[in-house]
């Protein structure tokens, strides 16, 4: 579901930063989970990639914390904050396939980062306060730097071939 | 001892009259035993009550009946094979009802007539069945006061007029014995009075329920089925009185699964059913075995297969009780062998199930379950019933629900215990409970589940052994009464006979069996199934002497003591 429902120009700075922190944490945990799923399904390459992305997202969480300290603002997540991420595009298990290639995984990650960057830019454009706009732009810039990083990674992997999802083995029935 | 049949149909009240006699016998210090045969109709069908009175405890029926008193003859001929008579018997009928049916007259029994309907009509509000009860009492020497006291208790609430009418009818019937010259041949002579201990009147089904509650059962899921419904109906209010609960469910599948859930939650649980219900429950019984969840299922056996003969007895569910589950699923199978034994065996079954964390099937049957008897109150039995539960885990240790222990029993965490969360599994699993298809885990868990049953010491209650000598009757369940009665005829003549009645059918006890039959060179197996299920079970698991025969028959006719005696006579003469 695509909604921009979380763009609320009247957000306070705390609100924005805690939202950002929540999103990054959630992304990190999701990537870690995706890494686990890929490991269980014997797709080592992609699992590796997702582990690295999880680590990067935790770095982003740290960065948000630094930004909050610089602005002397709290970034604490209130309990039950997960539901405030409604509409945010986070790494979704629905987009996974056990045979997917590292390139496809990176393409997905790239699209998530793109959405995050767009979200912050839209917020910056609509923000009422100068401090808020500045903070949003900084976060957007961070996301864009993630995207450039991912572009470099993508360059290392070949284009996905047709028939990538063909599995000659039949499925198993287990229970 | 004296044996009576009291028959009638269409609301004649034969059963209620017989019940009055049974209770009166108890009040008078006698012992008594009663079963019923009924037609297929819910009401109004032909009915016969079979009673046996004695001054010693009575646990089964005799070879034949001394007296048959019928309020009418409608369709009674259908039951002829269930009320064997002989030339020494007395058939009493009502002249208004016509001739004695040929099937019954063919026994050569003496015939007499008492105009019970007429007598009843001469008493305002008088009923024929009370007259009949009076007649029986007079015939067998049961004091009238005893009947009156029973009637007073049960009819008090209906007012003085009804009470008076009943008492008058009783007396009229009582007096009719002499008036119509029925004789004194069937008088019981109560020698010494009943012992100092307490006595009780109970059915096998009620005793089953009581044993269950004494064992600790506090949750029952109930689905009605003949002839087990009375177990559930007695347990419902009784459980409520002791803080337990009974819930009626939508089918037997819900019943077995509800008690799995309740037991998983830490509450000892039970259900009762008959053959068709047990068939439905077998898949989930396997779940309880695999996930090591204790529970008790009582099967009050009836004529099979399929819908079979619901209101009659048979011992043909042994196979499914032992082998009904798919896979290798060791579990407990027990069988009470008399009305009072229903209490002990069910109590023991709960204890064993909880201790060994396994389902226990209790094979009662319609003959025992629905028989009502005056008995000595048995001594209180105490089992230290204890489910081994896990205590809260200390930091660092991971609780292993299915840990492979030397005894095979691993502590069970009751939900609510911190730090021990686990998933009970029907899938094969490793010691921590995680699903596993590995050979090592399957072997280890199969060994564990078998070992916990095999290593346990069941003690002497596994079977009842009486007598001595080289000949033995080996039997189980409701065939035990007739077997003991047959054996008593040898003992009375100073001869030897052993009777072994097996109570614990699974797991098998080969060592104890060998000990029980040490020195025996001739065994007669007695059972009530068409395909000799019990005999085949013995052959599969136990050493039997060369000379071994089986006397078996399907229900509904109970095995009679003289049939067992005849088996041995034929054997000796061969």
């Amino acid at each position: 579901m695509n909604t921009g429902g979380n763009i609320q120009p009247e957000r306070s700075l705390e609100d924005l930063l805690s939202y950002a922190r929540t999103m990054e944490s959630e992304a990190a945990m999701r990537y870690a989970e995706l890494a686990g799923i890929m490991e269980t399904h014997n797709n080592r390459e992609v699992a590796e990639l997702f582990h690295r992305m999880a680590k990067i997202e935790w770095l982003h969480v740290y960065n948000v914390g630094e930004l909050a300290r610089d602005l002397s603002v709290s970034d604490q997540m209130p309990p039950g904050a997960g539901d405030r991420l409604r509409g945010a595009e986070l790494p979704d298990t629905l987009d996974m396939h056990y045979l997917q290639s590292p390139r496809q995984a990176l393409e997905l990650a790239y699209s998530y980062e793109q959405n995050a960057a767009r979200f912050y830019k839209e917020l910056a454009a609509a923000a009422h306060g100068e401090e808020l706009r500045a903070a949003a732009l900084q976060l957007a810039a961070e996301e864009e730097s993630h995207m450039r990083e991912l572009e470099r990674w993508l360059a290392r992997f070949p284009q996905t071939e047709a028939g990538w999802d063909e599995d000659p083995d039949p499925p198993n029935a287990l229970d | 001892m004296v044996s009576i049949v009291l028959a009638g149909s269409g609301g004649a009240g034969a059963i209620s009259a017989a019940t009055v006699l049974l209770e009166a016998a108890g009040m008078a210090g006698w012992y008594a035993y009663m079963t019923r045969s009924v037609g297929a109709q819910i009401r109004g069908g032909e009915t016969a009550a079979m009673l046996r009175f004695g001054i010693e405890p009575v646990t089964s029926h005799d070879d034949r009946f001394h007296v048959l008193l019928a309020l009418d003859w409608k369709n009674l001929g259908n039951f002829a094979s269930e009320m064997p008579l002989c030339a020494e018997s007395l058939i009493i009928g009502d002249p208004e009802q016509g001739d004695v049916p040929e099937t019954l007259a063919a026994s050569g029994a003496r015939q007499a007539e008492v105009p019970m309907a007429q007598i009843a009509q001469s008493i305002p509000g008088g009923r024929g069945n009370m007259v009949a009860a009076g007649v029986i009492a007079g015939l067998i020497g049961l004091p009238l006061e005893a009947l009156v006291s029973v009637v007073v208790k049960s009819l008090q609430h209906k007012g003085d007029k009804v009470l008076a009418a009943s008492n008058q009818a009783l007396r009229a019937g009582f007096d009719a014995v002499d008036e119509f010259g029925l004789g004194t041949a069937f008088r019981l002579h109560p020698g010494r009075p009943a012992g100092p201990g307490k006595r009780w009147i109970v059915t096998g089904n009620q005793a089953t329920g009581l044993g269950a509650i004494r064992g600790g059962i506090r949750y029952v899921a109930a689905y009605p089925i003949t002839p087990a419904t009375e177990v559930l109906e007695w347990m419902g209010p009784s459980l409520a009185r002791v803080g337990g609960a009974l819930v009626q469910v939508e089918d037997e599948l819900a019943a077995i699964n509800q008690i799995i859930g309740a037991s998983y939650g830490g509450v000892p649980s039970l259900t009762a059913t008959a053959g068709p219900g047990l068939s439905l429950m077998t898949e989930s019984l396997g779940l309880a075995v695999a996930s090591e969840i204790p529970l008790v299922v009582v099967d009050v056996m009836r004529g099979g297969p399929s819908t079979g003969i619901p209101a009659k007895s048979e011992q043909s569910d042994l196979n499914i009780a032992l082998h009904g589950m798919h896979g290798d699923a060791p579990h407990l199978v027990l069988a009470p062998n008399s009305v009072p034994d229903c209490m002990f065996t069910t109590h023991w079954a709960v204890h064993l199930a909880e201790t060994l964390q396994v389902p226990a099937l209790v094979l009662s049957d319609q003959a025992i379950g629905q028989a009502r008897a005056v008995l000595d109150l048995p001594a209180e039995v105490v089992f230290p019933t204890r489910r081994v539960v896990a205590s809260p885990q200390t930091e660092g240790e991971k609780y292993q629900r299915y840990a492979v222990t030397p005894s095979g029993i691993s502590p069970m965490a009751i939900p609510g215990t911190p730090g021990c969360q686990y998933t009970a599994e029907g899938l094969e699993h490793n010691p921590a409970g995680a699903p596993s298809s590995r050979a090592e885990d399957h072997a280890a868990q199969l060994d564990k589940r078998a070992r916990k049953l095999d290593l346990y010491d069941y003690g002497d209650a596994w079977a009842d052994l009486e007598g001595s000598g080289e000949c033995a009757i080996v039997t189980w369940g409701s065939c035990t009464g007739p077997a003991l009665e047959a054996a008593s005829r040898w003992w009375r003549d100073g001869a030897e006979m052993r009777v072994l009645s097996i109570r614990l059918l699974s797991p098998v006890q080969p060592r104890r069996f060998a000990q029980a039959l040490a020195g025996v060179d001739r065994v007669l197996v007695v059972e009530q199934s068409h395909s000799a299920q019990f005999y085949r079970y013995l052959r599969a698991h136990y050493e039997l002497p060369q000379q071994c025969r089986v006397f078996h028959r399907a229900g509904p006719l109970p095995v009679r003591p003289e049939e067992i005696c005849a088996q041995f006579s034929q054997w000796s003469n061969a």
Binding site: Y62, H97 | V242
Partner: protein, 285 residues
């Protein structure tokens, strides 16, 4: 730089994080399976409610979604096909102090489990039933289930489609007396979390049908994220509106509680009045 550092920056004071409700066993569901999101939403919901993990029991039947108890850190029971509801009912009635949840798929719940579903709604014990509906039998490799459309030809067992009217679980739940009824989509886990919190809190029998795609045997269900829509608020106004809405909609409206009833949950009355020894007295002469 790793998660430990990031987490120590937080001073969130919740005693139970969502992780407290997870075991260390990794799910074997296919990547892309909607059940991952259901698991995440469930643990988030439990964290929101701050229930001690040892006070929760999760009962399931057989199927891919029924594997879920092993992946949670609460008490669980993985029973036989179609029988989770009676197990959960017996557990709840014997142990009313526990929070009892039930999980399974559409085959487990509405085919072999159909009878128990009907009676569980009638009985209205305090349970929360989460059905992960993917309109297929995934575990056995892709047969039609009761909620599969009549003309789906993807299985060799029903090559011409089942020809049967699909089972309508929520309509039936309403008619049979369930106290709380909602439909969600695994692709909106935030919404699912909210609804689960409310379902667990709501007394009586709560049914939450979660559309949860099976990417292996119904890959077209990846499109659900573009097809589902929010149910209108009016649908949940009362029993009649809910029933009407469910009878008329296409099964893809999600995200709202459709019915909240006020029937008292079934419970056994318990009064400990006598000692066991007293029970024999009714038989004594």
């Amino acid at each position: 730089m790793n998660e430990t550092l990031a987490r120590t920056c937080s001073t969130g004071v919740a005693a139970y994080e969502p992780d407290a409700y997870r075991s260390d066993i990794r799910p074997v569901w296919c990547p892309g399976c909607g059940d991952y999101s259901v698991l995440a939403a469930l643990t988030n919901a439990l964290a929101h409610l701050q229930l001690p993990p040892e006070q929760i029991a999760l009962v399931s039947g057989i199927g891919c979604s029924s594997r879920i108890p092993a992946y949670t850190g609460v008490y669980g029971l993985h029973g036989v096909h179609g029988r989770a509801l009676p197990v959960a009912t017996g557990l709840k009635l014997a142990r009313p102090d526990l929070t009892v949840l039930v999980a399974g798929g559409d085959g487990d719940g509405f085919s072999i489990g159909g009878n128990h579903f009907l009676h569980a709604c009638r009985r209205n014990a305090d349970l929360t039933y989460i059905v992960m509906d993917n309109q297929v039998y995934g575990m056995t490799k892709g047969q039609a289930s009761p909620t599969t459309a009549a003309d789906w030809r993807g299985s060799d067992l029903t090559p011409d489609g089942t020809g049967l009217v699909p089972f309508q679980p929520l309509t039936i739940a309403l008619a049979a007396g369930a106290n709380f009824v909602a439909r969600c989509f695994s692709g909106d886990p935030a919404n699912l979390t909210e609804i689960l919190v409310e379902a667990i809190r709501h007394p009586g029998f709560s049914v939450v049908q979660v559309l949860s795609p099976c990417v292996t045997f119904r890959p077209e269900q990846r499109q659900w994220k573009n097809l589902v829509r929010m149910a209108p608020a009016s649908a949940g106004a009362d029993l009649r509106s809910a029933a009407r809405h469910l009878m008329e909609d296409d099964g893809l409206s999600i995200g709202r509680v459709l019915y909240r009833g006020d029937r008292a949950p079934f419970a056994v009355k318990r009064k400990n009045t006598v000692e066991v020894e007293k029970l024999v007295e009714e038989f004594i002469l």
